[in-house]
């Protein structure tokens, strides 16, 4: 709309203090600076592998025990999109499984 209006008036801009307050928190978090950090990723845990024949698999029964191709003291794999990005020791935290990181074979931070 163009034209004079009886409610329009001139804004008086106030004077600003150029020096910030010393105790004020940082305006932007790291996540806000790099939004990629907010992307959620799913880490999968592979305890080990079983090698067997199709015949053995088809004949498998309940409570049958299959050894894994991994020794007790060997770490489990943490996979990201199917690739191993870390290894660790299988532990418990409260009543949940957890992995304590022991190897970071690839630099996770480029």
């Amino acid at each position: 709309m163009v034209g004079a209006s009886p409610s329009a008036h001139i804004i008086e801009l106030g004077e600003l203090d150029k020096v910030p307050h010393k105790d004020a928190p940082p305006l932007l978090t790291e996540a806000a600076v790099n939004p990629l950090h907010l992307i959620k990723a799913k880490l999968e845990v592979r305890v080990g592998e079983i090698s067997l024949t199709v015949g053995e698999l088809m004949a498998a029964r309940e409570h049958e025990v299959f050894p894994l191709k991994r020794r007790i003291d060997e770490p489990v794999d943490l996979l990201l999109e199917g690739r191993v990005v870390a290894r660790g020791e299988l532990v418990a935290m409260d009543d949940m499984f957890a992995v304590r990181i022991t190897e970071l074979p690839m630099p996770l931070k480029a």
């Binding site: 990629l36 799913k42 305890v47 698999l57 299959f66």
Partner: protein
Amino acid sequence: MAESRLVRPLRWWTPQAMAGLSRRLEAAWATWCGGWGFERRPVVCANSSEASEAYATVRRWQRVGILGGDGIWIGSPHAEPAHWLQQGLFAAGPTRQPSPVASRVVLEAWQDLQHEIACAIAPETDATARSSEPPPSGLPAGHRLSWSGAVGAQLSVANGLLGALVVHIGPSAAAAHCVVARGTASATQARSPLASVADALGHRRVSLDVHLGEAEIELGMLQSLRIGDVVVLDHALHQPATVQWTTASEPGGRSVLFEGHLGRLGPCKAIETAPRRIAATLNH
């Protein structure tokens, strides 16, 4: 699997297999030519897909019989089939208007040829079935494909000015006359016995992965992981692990074959299969 497409048997005839059909056509052609004063040439039979040159000369098809649900057609190099006879009997081209008597003779000769061909190949053609619907003027789709089993026969006379007629015999009609030599009993006995899929694949070795649950983590946190950090999984201690098969056909696709509880067997980790079996496909 081709479930929605039309599945057709593979049919292709050797000259030996077509010999009987060829003899029948030869006899019919000889009878007709003898009756109408034509000097005939031998009938040439071929699988329809291998007689492209002969089929290319046909301008019009006319069905003359039905056998085994398939038709028998006569193809003429003229748009009007009777013109072929008009030219052969009276040396009159298609543009010349024949006399009423000549037209009558031509029509009779043409009907006689249809009758001879029909009697030779489909003697039991049901006349009512033929007349209940207008006979199709073109060949059915697929009859000219390789391995269709349809047969094309060239009927020609010594007068080189007359193009050949083509008799097209549909696959089922041809099959009624084409004899395929079967394997002997000894050949059947020499076949390998059938094996079950389990026997055939039983010795193939496969590798399965034992997985626990996942941990959802932000990329920033993932990048700051250090040795000694603990990542908690969404997998309770009492829950069984899953044994999975990675399917190559679908990236990331996995099939959970069964579940089991972790343990040890000698120096190795081990898994004991749980009673409840899962056969669902996970697609993460």
